[in-house]
Assembly symmetry: D2
Homo-oligomer: 315 residues x 4
């Protein structure tokens, strides 16, 4: 049995784990991310790998991070939440810990974990995953391989166009799906609903101390689960858009399985119900051809560690 280490570098936490070849996490640890400090973030990774590797025969290390990674999986070209710009992370960490290292985009890592050990483990060839967090990320597996693209940026699913001339995206384009199907969009829709119909949104506003602007994603989830109609409608809105994008992917790539993950998936059928309705509605071939099922991710926050470790095993 071989062991590898997976590291998941987020904007607030760095999580690491030792993972075996069945996808089981044998040990794990986490630190705060010193997000503004390039050198310290590298050092936290190295420290954490050192701690996990102590007394174990580790074969390789995989690191997942939000950002654009170059095609050789060595350099973080740009990370929106960290200070890294053209950071040669692979070489630096590899030298420091004395092990082979790969660096991979976090959406890709999560998709790989779900493909191998999670919601799509029954698929042997292809799956596509949307990760719905603050933004919208994604990962694509085809022919049993993670698609990385010619320049390392494949699966920027959040920046598919949803609404021409729509809500402005941080990327500069108007109307990206990230502005309609993300956790941020969920909050935007819920706040607008609460401002327009404070009475119907009483339960949600209670959680937010009466202030629409204080509404957060977890509040929307909690209120929706408790029956608040405005919160449920906010989930239905993002689900409607998400279903549309899933239908686009089913028509473009026709995968075996489609997976939806990220923090928003905690809402379960509140999100998946509208998502599936919109997905099936959009597919012309409905009733004629089999199409991929839409499944919720299963690995939750562990997907980053498990996926990064499993990709490291395949160097």
């Amino acid at each position: 049995m071989t062991l590898t280490i997976g590291v998941d570098v987020g904007g607030t936490k760095v999580a690491g784990g030792v993972v075996d070849d069945t996808g089981t996490v044998l040990a794990q640890t986490r630190r705060d991310t010193p997000a503004d400090d390039v050198a310290k973030t590298r050092d936290v990774i190295i420290e954490l790998v050192g701690e996990l590797a102590a007394g174990r025969a580790i074969e390789a290390v995989g690191i997942g991070a939000a950002g654009w990674i170059d095609a050789s999986r060595s350099t973080v070209l740009f990370a929106p939440n960290l200070a890294w710009r053209d950071e040669p992370l692979r070489e630096y960490v590899s030298t420091a810990v004395g092990l082979p290292v790969i660096v991979e985009n976090d959406g890709n890592v999560a998709a790989w974990a779900e493909f191998r050990y999670g919601a799509a483990r029954a698929a042997d060839d292809s799956m596509i995953m949307f990760t719905i967090g603050t933004g919208v990320g994604g990962g694509i597996v085809l022919g049993g391989d993670l698609m990385r693209g010619a320049h390392g940026i494949a699966a920027e699913l959040g920046h598919m166009l949803a609404v021409p001339d729509g809500h402005q995206c941080g990327c500069g384009r108007l109307g990206c799906i990230e502005q309609y199907a993300s956790g941020s969009a969920l909050v935007r829709f819920a706040r607008a609903g609460a401002r327009q119909e404070p009475d119907r949104a009483a339960a949600l506003l209670d959680l937010a101390g009466g202030e629409a602007e204080a509404i957060t994603g977890p509040m929307v989830t909690a209120a929706a689960q408790g029956g608040d109609p405005v919160s449920a409608e906010a989930f239905a809105q993002i689900g409607r858009w998400l279903g549309t994008s899933l239908a686009d992917m089913a028509q473009i790539l026709d995968p075996q399985t489609l997976v939806v993950g990220g923090g928003v998936i905690d809402a379960g059928d509140l999100l998946l119900g509208p998502t599936r309705r919109s997905y099936l509605d959009a597919l012309a071939q409905r009733g004629r051809l089999p199409v991929a099922e839409v499944l919720p991710a299963e690995l939750g926050n562990s997907a980053g560690v498990i996926g990064a470790a499993d990709l490291a095993r395949r160097i």
Copy 2:
């Protein structure tokens, strides 16, 4: 040197050719398509293969046709312009001609031809092609393989959503890109322009005998090449939408090369200029990352025969 035969079954013509392993067409022939008659269409294919095979050592036959082909590349599930429904074309032709046969979607076939011998021959790994004819078709090559999808329907690029609640598509959905970037859309835009501004569209209307409803695609191309501004704007309109979809594909799959083919590409820069502007405009990473170039297809009408023959070689 091995020889294979490629057959391109269109709505009006069946074309066939003998192709060697450099992609050169050594002999070719064509017949009218008896489109309403399933049995006769099969017989024309068999006759044509027989004629081309006479006196040559042929290894296999590839057939390209518009329609949904099953994942085993044997059965035409549905062909919009032909009478085929669940037609076991592979077995029928194979038995009749005594050679291995594969059946493939026409958009896939054309993309494969351009990947191997045409506009994308410099790409060794990945390319995506949009074929702009009456409708919009497509093909995707990743990791050096043609993507067929889990159910054989991959690369239905024409049915990506362009405009929520937009122009109704034949597939039942509102706003598919096929309604905005196809040859049919070109004609629709040109007719609307000619009705609105008959004076500016004088050159185009002359070609159509003065009747906006009589305008055809070739007339729009001819008028645009002669400087007719309304015709040029119709190309700019479809180019703008096409560029948007190309940008989506660059972000989703990040291929080495993007190719635009189909009859509309005869208009050259009248189409490609606006397409490329819209493509680059939509890409957030412009100026930061290399992105795929958008190239015109090179093989024209021969792509169907060459691609089908080359895929047959790989059975």
Copy 3:
């Protein structure tokens, strides 16, 4: 008590009636419209007025017709369903029947009838009416007067923009509200639904002999009233768009009352329910300010005759 005659010139029927100053129709008659023949259509109008006027003291004649009427209410500039082009209808009919005549757009006439004697009779100052037939027409009353515009074309409500780059309208523009909230749109949505989900649309398809393309507006109404979910959704779709346009009108002109008429209103709450939800949803000031109620028209097919007669009384 003064009497006037109202004539309603439709694409298939010419209806006429004698109306008193309480809006009561004392006598009426109708003929087929010889739609392709300018002279014969005029003659049918004259004949019908002669018949109704016989033995009665008639003061004036009002004629309502689909089309653009000039600002002096004399000339039909263009009528989409009739052969009239720059037709000096007022003078011709006035000379023939020896009475004062006015010509008015059919949407304006219907709005005036509802303002005076129908759904908006409680309003003393302002109302706006959408007439949902094959297309979408409208009429606007402000300050107690029918708004005709500086060039006689006011209240072309059907050609407000609903969806940028949306479904192409007969007027040449993409995305007019007429393409989303008309009877034609209802049929288009219902057909698409029936093609996509034949099982759910079984009741509707039964009425149409199993053929989605044979579905008509009255079939959608009948099926929806009988509980067919696909038909009900088609009404919900057009209601959603109609509510949006009503909200625009409430914000632009803030009338006392909003009225929805035309054949589609026979569906009652199947249309009005979704329309009102969408209307209230779109209004920002919901809950803060009173806004106009949305009411169904009450005069049905008689609105044309009653409104034309009443406008004639005010020459």
Copy 4:
């Protein structure tokens, strides 16, 4: 000759003037607005009126303010930039200064000024004005009267729907024209352009000290006038949307004249050129019917004082 006083209450300045019945401003003065303090704002108005009235025979006072005014023109129901909520401004000021007072929405006031003495003075019946400032306001004159609506909120032109599911508006709705054709939209488009193409936007970025986020409206105007292409495109973007809304108004109300005012109009043809192209393009009847011309406002910042004074004259 009668004299009236007009007061224009803005978020930062209160301006007042004595105006004669030719629309000439005979004397004027201005103060800072104590925006957070209801009582002080009233007192500033009263002080300023007292100063202007000293030694003159003043007949009445008109006050224009951004916000919703009730139908009797007495009470400010809500003012977005001031502390007023259900403020009985008319009675308070009238009692204090001993003159008749009316209160009117600022967009209405400006439209009235342009109708009587500015860009639309040749119109004797109807005009519609869009005021493009930070937001989008408007005013409508029909039959020689200012349209106030049944609840006093007529001419909320900024909240017509432009893009279904588009950019979120402050009013809670998605896609209001205010999000596409306002000064705020101009800045948003220019910033996005500068981030995407810093080299092309060099002149604009220079004005902003190199920071896209520091770009302001006056910088965009200055850069566009100096030839900066990204700034000119930002004007073209808002002009394209503005033209669409003007075309909607021409079809709904068919006025004699359309006027565009507000700070953005300083850019002249940089805004009006694209606006007019889009306007004519959207009108189906182009070439067949006369339509209203689109003219720039002429009275600039004085429109508020002149319009309020003139409305006061008509109490």
